[in-house]
Subunit: 455 residues, 2 copies
């Protein structure tokens, strides 16, 4: 080990000496509150079971806004506010159906979900399938080989990536750009292998995009098992896909970001935002994505308030609307904050599921990364160990445009099970473990407490 | 930070420089093998679904021995051996039933499982209930208050303990000693609150003990929901419990520890044992306890062999029989090894479930604790971060008697969900996540690889 490394480690430890035994005691209280008298699990139940899936523009999303406002009022937060925004409104319509038919005429049903934003098939769409293993392979294909066909993008997430979000990032383009690239070569539709790790029957939806100058074609996701079956059939010969999807766009709808605060005791004008997103995809109940993130932030503020913490700065919890298909909530929040001359000093997001907490990441200057590393000794008793440079979150990212240099922080739970549930009908309340959720809430409270003390 | 601490940290890091880039590459291969071409999930499925619960002395336990031997043969391990042992044989008999009846005559069904080793009720047992919140409270009670009654030990695991095994340890005595202490005061039966964290309808069984001079009374575990209901009813007045359990002991049965090896290339006579236990309780499928541990060790050895590792020492995987109610496997293994003049230099156990891996603990001298801490930098990319003094495991613990100073190591996965399943009908294959299991297998392979290189 070099002397420089020693100095670095020494500096790291000495930063942490800014905290004392009182801080340890405070953090222990946060965990006790979450684990013994916590409200998080029942709050998540009411969001998931009382409302369920809540895609932007839906009645459920509107009810989720009401739910959020009522919760913040019930917990006695300060300055509860609904920020009006306009959001996209896309509907799946009736359930989708799909079959594949091989040369021998046998018809096999296929698990499918339209991708969010896709046009419908306008009746039955029937065409031969051509398979590609990646978007790059598709781009290299000839127009003749794709024209008039349904493109099947069968890229599997890499199971060897230890952090599953990395594997997700590696496949993201087949969902986002699959329709545009397929259409450019004359395809009449596109189906992708779900961005998911397990082999099961759940298709996973998610946003996809069209381009002005390129003809819109329908786009759907197949379950991993259906993808394997389709690929196997294609290896033997020609396969036709028969597909019907009724989804379509509607005019934008009014909606809201929901926010409430603990007013700062020393610098009330300086704001630390903590948030997740209230909307979800329309399959499942948005339990991990991002019901858990909403609850982490709600419960963290309740814990701080209940245990008598008087933060220096104002801690504002924001339930962002429309992260999934537009990020109108995040964009409008950052613009509004700037227009109102609010002073934002940091933001923290939870949008990686309700699993056992690992730590936090920092999208910001080196000094902020070192700052969160200095939290490590105080949080080690709670098995928090990941304090690294990394990503904040989609909802808070527009704040970077409004506030140059603002540090953004992302809550990092264990990622192993996230893509079992993400954007699928399996993302229901029962997939969230009570203790894992509670530990996440207390971790968020502890992190925000230390951040507030440090800034 | 003191200078001494700096030196310690420096020493810690310099130990790790014993490892080089080749080791990083080898470990990456272990994880790739586990995650891309792994056999662990299907092997666990065959153990859980093909055999199921496998209590010592049962036909299923015998089939599990056959299963283990066949697996080791199929993977081409060296020196496959069945060590004959005698094990207890207790059977639950027909399913247990219980009801509670309050003063108003209303009868409410209760979720119950006999504790392992309990005598039956010999027909219907009907008696008034007296509740205690801990074994200490019971010990302080008067004979008059307990005589002729059924004792209800309603001690909840402490949810504020971050490591759930600590909370389990805090309640363990109500299960182990509840019958003896109740009987001493003249009770006719004892029921305990299940050693479990969630509020649900699953009773959790486990071993209990009688003493020679104290009359044996039947002992059962209630689900946490039934425990809450019973306690609530008792708060209002007298409650009678009506109980029937058909369990009983049978004569000891012959059984086996199952073992196979990778022969050492430099010091084949020096043995590192890695193991878990093949038996399980008779509820559920013993998936986390300890199917996962069996699979961790089986797959770790398969990975080492498949990736071409030639260990210095002999790595022996042992599937121990009878951890749950007697530890005859562990005790006999240690005695046999000593009698045979085998040279044992270390042992590693996995018996804490198939969850996301956190790290390893060491029950041994400070130098061994420092040694595993030196593994940390190489294992950080896999989110392994817990390398501490701690516990090895029940099966390997008798080795300490045979080999003074032998270091024992315990695999440490995340503990949050363990007591949702432990010893209950919910401990089935579906409760184990594929990736979490696979990461555990690779972690075990990596740890054993580094240990073998270091000793």
């Amino acid at each position: 080990m070099s002397f420089r490394k020693l100095i670095l480690i020494s500096a790291l430890f000495s930063l942490s000496t800014a905290f004392g035994q009182n801080d340890s005691i405070a953090i222990r209280k946060f965990f006790d509150e979450a684990l013994i008298r916590g409200k998080s699990y029942e709050d998540l139940r009411s969001l998931c079971k009382g409302i369920g899936a809540r895609l932007s523009g839906s009645a459920q999303a509107q009810m989720a806004v009401e739910w959020g406002k009522r919760k913040m009022e019930a917990y006695g937060f300060d300055q509860i506010y609904l920020q009006p925004i306009m959001v996209p409104h896309w509907e799946r319509g009736n359930k989708e159906v799909a079959w594949m038919q091989s040369g021998n005429g046998e018809v096999i049903p296929i698990d499918i979900l339209a991708l969010g934003g896709s046009i419908g098939t306008n009746g039955t769409l029937k065409a031969e399938v051509v398979e590609f293993k990646s978007l790059d392979d598709l781009k290299k294909a000839s127009k003749a080989s794709v024209q008039g066909k349904i493109v099947f993008l069968n890229q599997a997430m890499n199971p060897a990536d230890i952090v599953t979000f990395k594997a997700y990032g590696g496949c993201y383009s087949i969902r986002g750009q699959g329709a545009v690239e397929s259409s450019k070569l004359g395809a009449v539709g596109v189906v992708i292998r779900s961005l998911a790790l397990p082999e099961d029957h759940f298709p996973h939806t998610g946003s996809m995009y069209y381009e002005e100058a390129v003809a819109k074609i329908p786009a759907g996701a197949l379950s991993t098992i259906s993808s394997n079956e389709l690929s196997k059939a294609l290896a033997k010969g020609k396969v036709t896909l028969i597909l019907e999807m009724d989804c379509r766009d509607f005019p934008d709808e009014p909606s809201f970001n929901v926010m409430g605060e603990l007013k700062g005791s020393e610098k009330p004008e300086e704001i630390i935002t903590i948030g997740g997103h209230l909307d979800s995809w329309d399959a499942g109940e948005g339990a991990h994505d991002d019901g858990a993130g909403i609850i982490h932030c709600l419960e963290a503020l309740r814990i701080l308030k209940t245990t008598g913490v008087k933060p220096k700065h104002t801690i504002r919890v924001v339930f962002f609307m429309n992260e999934e298909n537009g990020n109108k909530g995040g964009i409008n929040y950052a613009e509004w904050a700037k227009k109102e001359n609010q002073k934002h000093i940091a933001a923290v997001e939870s949008d990686r599921g309700g699993f056992s907490p690992d730590g936090f990441e920092c999208d910001g200057k080196e000094s902020y990364i070192q700052l969160i590393k200095s939290f490590a000794p105080l949080l080690k008793p709670y098995d928090l160990h990941h304090f690294e440079a990394g990503y904040g979150g989609v909802d808070i990212s527009p704040l970077k445009k409004s506030y140059e240099g603002i540090p953004l922080f992302g809550f990092v739970p264990d990622s192993q099970r996230y893509f079992d549930f993400h954007h699928a009908a399996s993302d229901v309340f029962e997939s969230v473990n009570k203790r894992e959720l509670e530990l996440g809430c207390a971790s968020m409270a502890a992190f925000v407490y230390l951040l507030d003390k440090s800034l």
